[in-house]
């Protein structure tokens, strides 16, 4: 029989539409303004009791929270509006202090029965909804100092090779190096040698108190070069870290000479993002000092979670920047561990050092650059000042069982969470210079809320006009097409939500185009039916022929566009990608609704009856 779908086909369509409706539904619930609290380390936990205490203290300050909840390792407090949220954030970070990360967040209000099937709302891009904004500052003095440290080793080795005896090589306050000699002619020879080998040095000879000095400072152009390198390296590292977070369309961008902006649209876990991005952690691998070592060549550090201390050699074997890969896992005793692979140079250094150090102990030192904000009162005004400091703690001190090469593992971590975080940091690359958070805010959408409302209203008006047009022009068939068109939008929203894609302005462009193409498919079908009727086919056959004939056209037109969209997705970045995603998804859903759903609706309306006339 013509124009009748078998029951299974109708059932399948209904099932797909139901699932679509279910997964599109979360978009109807607007997000809550929330503040997220989590510990800076795995050992600082957040529990309901603590949240209740914070809630009570907030209430005393006139800040009422709607609800509080625990999500894994972090807590969430919900507020009624944006201004309460901002004030509450300030208050909470004051109450909790340095050991907790307090971040602004938007919390979905999706009901539990929806989240239980994995449904969640689509995220809006930073251009539409705003998101988290971090401004980071790169410590350039540190970047230059670190480079000079490398030079110290080189210079010492060179002087030794030339048998030029120096008394000491030290850093000066102003960021230059001071080479001290006891004889003037040795100093002059050394000065000559360095002049030949290092064009980037500015060398001055100084005599004072019977000692002879060469002061080595870097040329301005070299300093700039180091700074540029530091920024570039940090940008790359931050991008890697952000990518590991899985945020769609993030922005990591240089701003000014020494600052980096990181924007994360539609982020779910702002506190975790801050922890991962802001972790300026690095590792240092050092040998434990021999008992007879002079105090000038050793340093004493305490362990991370116990008052125990150990004395280590000042010389660093390698740092985290030699790490090429890191994986967290469990060892045979079920303890968390991180397996580390080094690059070839790092492996060589590790091998050379451990060759003479079997049975000695090696420490893994965890280096973290932090900053705390001090509130000072200057001239009666409160001024906040950021004071950077470095925390170094031993995370493991283990006997070297055999000569180590380019892959080995470290154990003795707090827990599985800590191991995976450390592995992530090491994998994402080390920072060339420490970074500090200068500010952290939520960004208002660049289009402005008013503009978004206008945009949404205008899309609605446009959509309504199209529906009206179709209804007037194609009558009953127009009505059926309108139902299909609306279902197409629902399906598109559902797929985008399931993919947890981020909707941006270019994405909206894709949706508008999709609506156009969905209409086009129906128009193609309907004009074919009209043609076939004009050619004298009876109504039922005309409907059938119309759908069949239009199919190849729709298929070719859509597949060609889909092809272009898929390539744009593969090649493009940021906005182009966003556009390509919505368009690709839209093409697939619109083909389904325009061909299958419209057909099903037409079949239900006209199929299996004797018709004299069609309302088209």
């Amino acid at each position: 029989m013509l124009n009748k779908y078998p029951l299974w086909k109708n059932a399948l369509i209904v099932l797909i539409l139901l699932i679509g409706g279910l997964y599109a539904a979360p978009n109807l619930y607007p997000d809550d303004f929330a503040v997220q609290v989590s510990g800076t380390r795995a050992s600082y936990t957040v529990d309901q009791q603590m949240l209740d205490r914070v809630t009570k203290q907030l209430k005393a300050e006139g800040l009422v929270s709607k609800a509080s909840e625990i999500n894994g390792a972090s807590g969430l407090l919900r507020f009624a509006d944006g201004s309460t949220q901002l004030e509450a954030k300030e208050a909470i970070s004051r109450i909790l202090g340095d050991n907790y990360v307090v971040a602004l967040n938007l919390a979905p209000t999706t009901p539990e029965w929806l989240t239980s099937v994995g449904a969640g709302p689509m995220k809006l891009g930073l251009d539409l909804r705003g998101g988290v904004h971090f401004l980071l500052e790169v410590d350039m003095a540190q970047a230059v100092a670190q480079r000079l440290d490398v030079y110290v080793g080189e210079i010492k080795a060179q002087l030794r090779a030339e048998k030029l005896r120096y008394r000491s090589v030290v850093h000066r306050e102003d960021g230059s190096l001071e080479l001290k000699f006891s004889k003037a002619d040795v100093r002059d020879q050394a000065s000559q040698l360095l002049k030949q080998d290092y064009t980037e040095f500015l060398l001055t000879d100084e005599d004072a108190d019977g000692a002879y000095y060469v002061v080595v400072s870097l040329l301005e152009s070299k300093v700039r070069e180091i700074e540029d390198y530091a920024i570039k390296q940090n940008l790359t590292t931050l991008r890697n870290r952000v990518n590991e977070l899985g945020v769609a369309e993030p922005l990591v961008q240089r701003q000014g000479r020494n600052r980096i902006v990181v924007q994360l649209p539609g982020i779910q876990d702002a506190a975790a993002a801050k922890r991962i991005i802001g972790k300026t952690a690095n590792l240092e691998f050092r040998l434990e000092a021999k008992t007879d070592a002079s105090s000038a060549s050793t340093e004493t550090y305490s362990f991370r979670d116990s008052p125990r201390k150990a004395t280590l050699e000042k010389d660093i074997i390698i740092t985290g920047s030699s790490v090429s890969n890191a994986q967290s896992a469990f060892d045979e005793n079920g303890q968390p561990q991180v397996s580390i692979s080094l690059d070839s140079k790092g492996g060589e250094l590790m091998n050379r050092t451990t060759r003479n150090a079997v049975k000695r102990r090696m420490a893994v030192l965890f280096v973290e650059h932090k900053s705390r904000t001090l509130i000072k009162t200057v001239d009666g005004e409160q001024v906040s000042e950021r004071v950077p400091y470095v925390e170094k703690n031993i995370i493991s001190l283990a006997t070297i069982q055999s000569i180590l090469g380019s892959s080995f593992r470290i154990t003795g971590l707090d827990g599985a969470g800590e191991a995976s975080e450390l592995a992530l940091l090491l994998r994402a690359g080390a920072l060339a210079a420490p970074i500090y958070f200068v500010e952290e805010r939520t960004v208002g959408p660049s289009l402005g809320e008013q503009n978004i409302e206008l945009g949404i209203t205008s899309v609605q008006i446009g959509f309504a006009l199209v529906l009206l047009f179709m209804l007037v022009y194609y009558r009953v068939f127009g009505l059926l097409a309108n139902v299909a068109l609306t279902l197409n939008l629902v399906l598109l929203l559902a797929v985008m939500s399931i993919m947890s894609a981020t909707l941006t302005l270019p994405g909206i462009a894709g949706i508008v185009l999709t609506v156009g193409m969905a209409v086009d498919a129906n128009v193609l079908i309907f004009s074919r039916i009209k043609e076939e009727l004009a050619n004298g086919l009876p109504p039922q056959s005309a409907i059938n022929a119309g759908f069949e004939r239009a199919f190849t056209t729709i298929f070719d037109a859509n597949i060609t566009t889909l092809l272009a969209a898929v390539i744009l997705f593969a090649m493009g970045t940021g906005p182009v990608k966003g556009f390509a995603i919505t368009l690709s998804v839209g093409i697939v859903t619109s083909m389904f609704t325009a061909i299958m759903v419209t057909r099903a609706l037409v079949n239900l309306t006209y199929g299996g009856r004797t018709l004299n006339k069609l309302s088209i």
Partner: protein, 306 residues
């Protein structure tokens, strides 16, 4: 629509070709000479942050900045309703912040404070410009391969020519009138590609069908018949798309305007090009019945030849 049912489209094809060539030349020349007026998203610029005591009206700020000679300033709240972020196309100048502040302060009875005055990098980096361009070329190539496979090589040349035609003309119009080329326009341009491609394939599909179906007709006649048959669909689809876009242009607000205008131009040019560019290229390349016949039939015909 009965009166246009048998419109002789192809009679105008030489005029249309001339018109296309002239507009294309103007576009390319303008792009070469004037270039595009890239918006902040592409160029980067300066960023000024101003603190208000009470939350101000953003549109008022935009107006004041425009009066003070800062065209195309992007104004948004930043963190709280009283912190206003202003992005300007100007290259950075240490005095810029104070100048902007005094321009805003003059008409304000509350005290404003300058929070920040800095250079910002472009949001759309070189990476996008390079990779985006490469992606576009690759996309065009794949479309050519697909159309050549599904239709015939001549059709794929026609489709890609029509696409390039549309993109160049939209870019040309933005260049000639020095309209701001920002992210939204880039998005619109991508959408134009999608629309134009869709339109061209629909027309090509009908041309292919008619070449196979109609036994005795010249290529020009087949074109005309095909274009007339698809005319109803072309008009309805363009009309519905234009309806949505007009709504966007009229009610969508300032920032979506560039997007809507670019797409409006694109849809008009795209509709025109699927009739006159794609079909014209097909005729110019001498498309004929034999091009679309299944291979074994071609063999038959060759056997019949003396």
């Amino acid at each position: 629509m009965a009166s246009v049912k048998n419109f002789n489209f192809m009679a105008l094809r030489k005029i249309a070709a001339g018109l296309s060539v002239v507009i294309l030349l103007i576009s390319v020349a303008s792009l070469a000479i004037n270039g595009l007026k890239f918006g902040l998203d592409f160029t980067g610029g300066s960023l000024v942050e101003v603190g208000y005591e009470q939350s101000p009206d953003l549109n008022q700020i935009r107006g004041r900045l425009q009066d003070a000679g800062y065209e195309d300033a992007v104004v948004q709240t930043f963190g709280s309703p009283v912190d206003i972020l202003i992005r300007l196309g100007q290259s950075h100048d240490p005095k810029l912040g104070d100048e902007v502040l005094s321009a805003l302060q003059a008409e304000e009875d509350q005290n404003l404070t300058l929070r920040r005055n800095e250079y910002v990098g472009a949001q759309v980096g070189e990476e996008l410009r390079e990779q985006g361009g490469l992606g576009l070329l690759l996309a065009l190539f794949m479309v050519m391969v697909y159309v050549a496979f599904r239709f015939q090589l001549k059709f794929s040349v026609g489709a890609v020519t029509a696409l390039a035609h549309d993109v160049l003309i939209v870019l040309g119009i933005f260049s000639v009138f020095q309209l701001d080329f920002d992210l939204t326009v880039l998005a619109a341009l991508l959408a134009v590609i999608g629309y134009s491609l869709n339109d061209t394939i629909v027309v090509s599909d009908r041309i292919r069908e008619n070449f196979r179906k109609i036994r005795k007709a010249t290529s020009v006649e087949v074109m005309n018949i095909s274009l007339n048959q698809t005319l109803g669909r072309t008009i309805v689809t363009s009309l519905t798309t234009l309806l949505v876009l007009s709504a966007l242009a009229i009610f969508g607000g300032e920032l979506i305007h560039g997007f809507a205008i670019a797409l409006l131009i694109g849809v008009l040019v795209g509709t025109y090009s699927s009739i006159y560019v794609a079909a014209n290229v097909l005729l110019a390349m001498g498309v004929c019945k034999e091009d679309l016949m299944p291979p074994e039939k071609e063999d038959d015909e060759e056997d019949d030849r003396p």
